[in-house]
Subunit: 459 residues, 2 copies
Amino acid sequence: MIPPAKPLLLNAFTMNCVGHINHGMWTHPQDRSTEFNHLSYWLDLARILEKGLFDGMFIADILGVYDVYQQGIALTAREAIQLPVNDPLMLVSAMASVTEHLGFGLTANLSYEAPYPFARRFSTLDHLTNGRVGWNIVTGYLDSAARAMGQTQQLAHDRRYDQADEFLDVSYQLWEGSWQDDALVIDRQRRCYADASKIHPVNHHGEFYQVEGYHLSSPSPQRTPLLFQAGSSTRGVRFAGRHAECVFVNGSTPQALREQVNKLRQAARDAGRLPEDIKIFMGVSVIVAPSEKDAEEKYQAYRRYASPEAGIAHFSSSIGVDLSQFGLDEPIQTGPTRAIESVTQTYSGWTRRRLLEQHAMGGRYLLIVGSPSQVADQLIKWLDEADIDGFNLTRIVNPQSYIDFIDWVVPELQQRGRYKTAYQPGTLRKKLFNHDRLPARHRAARWRADTQTSVEDKC
Amino acid sequence: MIPPAKPLLLNAFTMNCVGHINHGMWTHPQDRSTEFNHLSYWLDLARILEKGLFDGMFIADILGVYDVYQQGIALTAREAIQLPVNDPLMLVSAMASVTEHLGFGLTANLSYEAPYPFARRFSTLDHLTNGRVGWNIVTGYLDSAARAMGQTQQLAHDRRYDQADEFLDVSYQLWEGSWQDDALVIDRQRRCYADASKIHPVNHHGEFYQVEGYHLSSPSPQRTPLLFQAGSSTRGVRFAGRHAECVFVNGSTPQALREQVNKLRQAARDAGRLPEDIKIFMGVSVIVAPSEKDAEEKYQAYRRYASPEAGIAHFSSSIGVDLSQFGLDEPIQTGPTRAIESVTQTYSGWTRRRLLEQHAMGGRYLLIVGSPSQVADQLIKWLDEADIDGFNLTRIVNPQSYIDFIDWVVPELQQRGRYKTAYQPGTLRKKLFNHDRLPARHRAARWRADTQTSVEDKC
């Protein structure tokens, strides 16, 4: 018996700023990215995505600025390369109030946060959204952020993951361990809101964090938010295997990506979890039109607005190397940088010309251009050959790219039985994994208070 | 010529939790406080307040739990005394999306925050609300918070204010100094979003904070959020004189409050500001009905739900003294505590019985019970005799207390020409002070970048 074909999961990949991935496209007359300071823009976007049955809106974030290219922020400011950039968490309650099912994957850098108020922030959002929030765990990679936080430079790459491991363990204690499921009584007659014998203080004394106290929020629908992560280094994959439920990847070929995916699923096994406990999303840009010819024309029309130079200015900060210093055809020497090893390996020896060509649409994500059936073919090919689960779809002309995708690609995928025709009920985790809370095999479960029996009813 | 009578300003005083001030009232059948985890509750409340032309919703917050009374959290949990308590900032964008004028005064404890991401959070909200946010600056007073943040105990009272002074100065540099007014160009044809020559890095090296970097948000309508504060100690008043635009006070008599108000206005003068640069809001609870008799009956009916004991449990943490240890008629010895001096002075020598009587409605705020004209008389008396500007109105039965106030007291005040009949346009600061940004005489202005001339157009 052949198992049913895997459905394609879909997030909109966006950011609380003007230029996110496909740099320069803000100059297109139809692009609304410059409205990011206004709620109406976000409410419209959320409604569009829910109409298109997107699983989530995945909001990237960065603390710090891209100041490596030409050793300054001139181009960063001119092309609004993720500057200005506002806090993504502040957007959520408004968008939650006009949607019912759309999830919100929120990037938050833990390096400069304290677990105690941080955990409350996500619990609050999980309550207000009825369990629709995810946390994209990042530790940051910009020296400019470290300097803004009073440090001369950031922690070394692998040490940041050590810190992240401990941050997660403290957070699990707050989210999963502090309040028992039955702590809330809410009985007006008996005058008992909660039973203190079922609320336990966290008592964590570790290498990076010291936390003593009760979690401030009562149990939210998912408790721990759905955990996203994007590490591709050896240490990052180990971290993903231990914690992540969704991993965000980029691929050059389905075969190369498949290797990365195998490593991630193996890392889950190594951490006592199942390979399917991790859903893998690949970044992709799509230009679609009714016919191949129309799509190609749209691509050529869009290209005129893109800024490949802004793309490599962004990439300069990603790898910590000022790419403006190399001649157009000179092989790029990356040398030792703080960038993740796999990225520098991939691009070692490339010329600036080749990078500019790769950034034709202003970004370096896989670009699929074609008719609805051609796009669907490509997406399904990646899904099946690379063993991934879905896509983070970038914005090109914003939000028109999403509207095009919903109008043309979604019906095509639905016809092929590869895309939902309605939302499942329940929390974001329930929709993706069919359970509201992390399973017992996830390390978060070890701090769960539910198994503790309380002797004394304090109500 | 007699100057026109001062209009009465009005905030709803609430919190992202069940029991805020008037403890025990959550048990009243009509009270909706237990719905605080749901957006619908907050959207309804915001709409009610805007209908009543409230200037703002002032949302209190606390980091930490009340564990002083009976040396634990048994009563705190049972009566939901500000536990659970969720993050107030997460509520704002949803409520902003259903209102146009209502301001949002948001309590945030700076002691455990880093200025760089913190300033971005408020800039984001100021953008999304079109300039309707205020920050109620607090430094916290609970040892339970310090322990949750990895410290054995908090900084001493006056040192917390030294830290707060520096936190504000760094924040002003980010909010006022980093981006010139004309930094944003947003010209699609010229491909220029912003001019880097008009964006300046902050370079702060102080006692508590080291911050080097560009502010991440572009200039928001108010830049610096409207600044609220509530310090009543000598050091707190000095801080208010230097920074605060709105100060939250409590009064026992109009005469005693007038002295405190005089000190605050003098502190503004001492800081080179005008006495009217500070608007002063007093906390008050109101029970109103068409007649005095009806109001008295409502009061008696409400009282049965209040918990005076929960009130003094809350107060125990405020003063750092377990009030359960004293006999009902034994004079309370407060001894040296970390509580603010004026509070302990006021209550020194009281008995627990007297405190319980004072907390008849579960809280120790001034309670006014009466017909619409009686309530209006009282409010105006306080306003004029104590030289204050308005009130922070607590919730008793929530939100019915606000609805009653709007139905009965607001028309009475309007008839007397003491309450607005429509909102003024513009930002929260514009509505209260007739300017969008802090005036030149406020210390924030010294870091303003506007006066800097840029030589080079980087667009």
